[in-house]
Subunit: 305 residues, 2 copies
């Protein structure tokens, strides 16, 4: 059975919101852990509207310090405190974020009821910023007007499952089950070795989700996101505005499709749409022409990775 790994879209607008679109934010649920990626203005409202429990969020990943990606953070921290949070919150993002949040918190004389741990991203080098036995989070350096990183969330864990009848028949002790799922052979007490392949079956390969926003078209990211099951890529403009996209360090829908094709990802989801687009059909069809398995990010949808 697949473990839980899903993305709920909270906001899909670029710099300015529209009647129906909120600025960037997504909630990722991975093996029982909740991650928020970006936190544009109104994110806490979206969480409440969609019935998602803000206190479950343990990690917040901020790509860069443009307002549409983090102006919801002070309000979210304030509400978490108001509702009595005590659990630590880990914020991963550009190094300037800590001072800015500290200044906001002290100016507003806010009481924060929990510890905030900051992990600084390096905008020029990919790094693993969080990891445990179940998953890892690594960064992808992006080319935007200010320091910016994308994020890749990967499952980590045994990709094999036990061949229950074989294990039983051969009398494998319970303490060997976990090593077997990780690929070890079984060494019996008498020293004989039983090959892992006899005792396991192909399981669930580890999945990965790449969140790429904001960036100019940049093929340097392809090796990082190669083969991801799901790629979210910004697609701020249609390709007829390629000059505007280049000038503002954004990507066109066509280019997002091209990146997905080069990286051979499983599925592409585009978002971060300019407020000039009331309809998004054309953005979708433009990306689809480059990479067919493409969908639009929309407020409230949940996508399995």
């Amino acid at each position: 059975m697949h473990r839980c790994f899903e993305v709920t879209v909270l906001g899909t607008s670029s710099a300015s919101p529209t009647k129906t679109r909120f600025p960037s934010s997504q909630l990722v649920r991975l093996e029982g852990d909740y991650f928020l990626i970006d936190c544009g203005e109104g994110t806490q409202h979206q969480l409440v509207r969609l019935g998602l429990r803000m206190q479950r969020i343990r990690y917040i990943l901020i790509t860069h310090l443009h307002g549409d990606h983090f102006y919801g953070l002070p309000g979210l921290i304030s509400s978490m405190s108001l509702f009595g949070r005590t659990e630590k919150l880990t914020i991963v993002g550009p190094s300037a974020l800590k001072n800015l949040l500290d200044t906001i918190i002290s100016t507003t004389e806010s009481r924060v009821t929990f510890e905030i741990e900051y992990i600084h991203t390096n905008p020029i080098k990919s790094e693993t910023v969080l990891a445990n036995r179940k998953w890892s989070v690594s960064t992808v350096p992006l080319k935007h007007r200010i320091p910016c990183t994308g994020f890749i969330l990967r499952e980590q864990g045994p990709e094999l499952r036990l061949n229950a009848s074989a294990c039983e028949q051969l009398g494998v002790p319970v303490e060997w089950y976990e090593p077997l799922k990780w690929g070890d052979d079984w060494t019996r007490e008498d020293g004989t070795v039983i090959s892992n392949s006899v005792l396991t079956l192909p399981g669930n390969p580890n999945r990965s989700y790449a969140y790429i926003s904001d960036t100019i078209y940049d093929e340097n990211i392809v090796p990082h996101i190669q083969g991801c099951n799901l790629l979210y890529h910004e697609a701020t403009f249609l390709h007829n505005l390629i000059e505007r996209a280049t000038e503002t360090h954004h990507t066109t829908s066509k280019q997002a499709g091209q990146i997905a094709a080069k990286a051979r990802v499983g599925k592409l989801m585009i978002g971060h749409f300019s407020s000039r687009y009331h309809q998004t059909d054309e953005l979708l069809s433009e990306a689809k022409a480059e990479f067919d398995d493409c969908m639009l990010a929309e407020e409230g949808i949940t996508v399995a990775v």
Copy 2:
């Protein structure tokens, strides 16, 4: 004919938003000028949703630096710039606001395309902070956990209208029309004086709107808001939570009604409701028991002053 003086409610929640309630913000239109009072997170989204033109806003009045009253300001300034604003914006609020906004703007490397003028409020003394021939804005010191002021917007102008037939019959020169509307008598060239009352009729008395949030119950504000046509008063809690209200420096719905009765205002509108109240009927009936002409603030409603 009455001039335009109306209030559109953008947000009615207290500290944390609910599914249907946004944090504090109101748009006031007065004689062609647009004022925003408070600017909680999501205010720009509310303006867009309600089809209200953010670039028309010339003055922003901030009561105090709790996040639910100003966290929407950086995003609003950013969107105003993105859409090419050049007209000056005047922000009236606590003195710490300027430094905080400057820090946010510089950290995010935002380009602000227009001049921002700051006017600092004095939290311990009522002052007129803005005034012209048409209207004035003055402050009301409030008792909250941090420095806080309410605001009173008043029409200013001639309260008399010309008695057209009398003016014509007696041959009043055109240049006397304006002084007559302001109450002057007419001094003819030969030195004789014609009483104002012969030449004018009762016109439209100047109206006033008082915005009182956030504050503990405080009768000291009554002389300031005496006789206002419309009073917005916070009513965060029902009176059974009077202890919680006192402790957090907020007002109960009953107390808001009592203040309205003491100040003999024309109409009371209550808002700033705690997120614990899914239904607001009881908040309304509690205030109404003290002051009958009371209504609930609700997102999107427009009330004539």
